[in-house]
């Protein structure tokens, strides 16, 4: 029992990283109704920029974080221009496929430009173990969990208490009507993409400084974990993304403890499989889907 609880605590910590990634995916999906598969690889390139600053310029944590975020935004803008703005609004599959192509492209760029491939990523959080009763947690993981919750609150305030947030929700809810209100849809979508890139950059920075190294495979890893966490929680739902990420973390931590690394990776897919059968809309998405269906029938 002690083991199980400890695993759940560890899982919450890992899960907060997944939750941050899922937030990025779910924002793009919620606002644009499209999947951005190259989200993970954009973060990976951003992280290399952070590492470069760390190795060549300064070991200041804020500078490295800033470099990671800015480079992620730059790659994010590149992806937005090619996969989203350049493609017609209703061609959702086309933009998903092109974001897959950009994923491959970004990964190849990383493989060719970076001869050593694996680079150290600075561990900025001093690892101290915090004990409470029979359980313990690493301080950097607690920081990550708290930051994730803080970002969720900030995002909520942005979306529901500010003017750009109102515009963003309008565009996502009914792009035609928002155009009639005089909202410039493509500017707002650009803003959403920039916001998502900031989230992604922060997620990458936090996860990698706990991992202390970055490889070109980080992009694949981040896309998979983020997508699974988003689908578990319910696509397009912000609290769903957080719940999905934490649930994935907890299941993986237990699977790892009781079954080893192979079982851990398997458990993520198994969890998704079960969720898609039992609640295809995810933990939170289901309700929204059902409400929409009821409203459609009434109209």
């Amino acid at each position: 029992m002690t083991d199980f609880v400890q695993n759940c605590i560890d899982g919450l910590m890992f899960g907060s990283g997944y939750a941050l990634l899922a937030l990025g995916f779910t924002l793009v999906f919620g606002v644009m109704k499209r999947l951005n598969l190259s989200f993970g690889p954009s973060i990976m390139l951003g992280a290399y920029a952070g590492t470069w600053v760390y190795l060549n310029i300064s070991d200041n944590a804020w500078l490295v974080a800033l470099a990671t975020v800015i480079a992620t935004i730059a790659v994010g803008i590149y992806v937005e221009r090619l996969c989203f703005r350049a493609i017609r609004h209703d061609a959702t599959i086309a933009s998903m496929v092109s974001s897959f192509a950009i994923w491959m492209q970004l990964e190849e760029v990383a493989m060719h430009l970076l001869p050593e491939r694996t680079y150290p990523f600075p561990a900025f959080f001093t690892t101290t173990t915090i004990e409470f009763g029979p359980f313990y947690a690493r301080s950097e993981h607690i920081t990550m969990l708290l930051l994730t919750l803080l970002l969720l609150v900030l995002l909520h305030v942005f979306l529901f208490r500010t003017r750009p947030g109102l515009a963003l929700r309008s565009v996502s809810d009914n792009p035609l009507a928002s155009a009639y209100m005089g909202i410039n849809n493509s500017n707002i979508l650009f803003l959403a993409f920039a916001l998502v890139s900031v989230l992604g950059g922060l997620a990458g920075f936090l996860i990698l400084s706990a991992d202390t190294q970055v490889t070109p495979y980080f992009g694949l890893w981040a896309t998979f974990k983020g997508l699974i966490a988003m689908m578990l929680g319910g696509m397009g739902s912000l609290p769903g993304a957080i719940l999905g990420g934490l649930l994935l973390g907890i299941v993986e931590a237990n699977a790892f403890w009781y079954g080893g690394p192979v079982i851990r990776d398997l458990s993520a897919y198994l969890l998704l499989f079960v969720m898609l059968i039992v609640r295809p809309g995810g933990l939170i998405g289901q309700k929204i889907v059902a409400e929409q269906r009821a409203a459609d029938e009434r109209v």
Partner: protein, 239 residues
């Protein structure tokens, strides 16, 4: 007030408007009638800046609006109640109305709040349901929300695209009462309707649009006296 002169609007190679003109007078209800595919909605879209005309001109109180962007046109004082209402289904009633005032600057905050109170006075049902999601309202309430949302931009001219579409007859009567009331309060209205009987009741001036051009214009009495129109659009002999 709003003057549309000889506009030609194309969808690719298809010419939807072939030299359409209309003139909406201040304080009046101007109505566009016509069969499906005549170009009524296209006219609205062209005025609102959603579509750009190939040639011709659109002016509001002498200001040229012809190739302005949609946000600029909303700011100049034209707002649209779209066909099928198009409320924001997953946003609250209050947020739907706030989105209607999106184009107004922050300095107008007091005026915006005042307009919000006015909309709630006009439509008490919306006030009761201010936290409810737009998609959960009935058809008539959604139409009121769409009208309220357009009023939140404090327009000089309100364009309404088929406000009676898909509503029960009783609700249609109510919507037309609202239109008349708005007009009596001094709101200039450009109305697109298929419901000719209702249109004749509220309009000061009517335009009949067929295949992208105006084929008749005149007052409701002139229109009712025209035998051809009687037969084609009003079902002469029915009553």
């Amino acid at each position: 007030m709003l003057k549309v002169e000889n506009i030609v609007t194309r969808y690719g190679a298809i010419e939807a408007l072939k030299g359409m003109s209309l003139d909406a007078q201040h304080g009046e209800v101007t109505c566009l009638l016509g069969p499906n595919g005549a170009g009524k909605t296209t006219t609205m879209f062209t005025i609102a800046g959603i579509l750009s005309p190939h040639s011709g001109s659109i002016t509001l109180d002498g200001n040229d609006l012809t190739h302005q962007s949609a946000p600029a046109i909303v700011r100049k004082g034209i707002s649209l109640v779209p066909e099928n209402r198009l409320v924001f289904p997953e946003m609250s009633v209050a947020d739907n109305l706030a989105a209607g005032a999106y184009c107004r600057s922050r300095s107008e905050r007091t005026a915006i709040n005042q307009d919000l109170a006015e909309v709630f006075d006009r439509f008490p049902q919306l006030k009761e349901r201010r936290e409810q999601l737009g998609g959960t309202l009935s058809g008539g309430e959604q139409q009121m929300l769409a009208i309220g949302r357009a009023l939140m931009a404090r327009p000089k001219i309100l364009m309404m695209d088929e406000p009676s579409l898909g509503l029960a007859p009783l609700i249609v009567d109510e919507i037309f009462k609202i239109i008349q009331q708005l007009n009596q309060e001094g709101v200039t209205i450009l109305l697109v309707e298929q419901n000719a009987r209702m249109a004749l009741k509220v309009a000061h001036k009517l335009y009949l649009l067929e295949q992208g051009a105006v084929t008749f214009e005149g007052s409701p009495t002139e229109m009712q006296q025209n035998e051809l129109i009687q037969r084609a659009y009003l079902g002469a002999g029915a009553d």
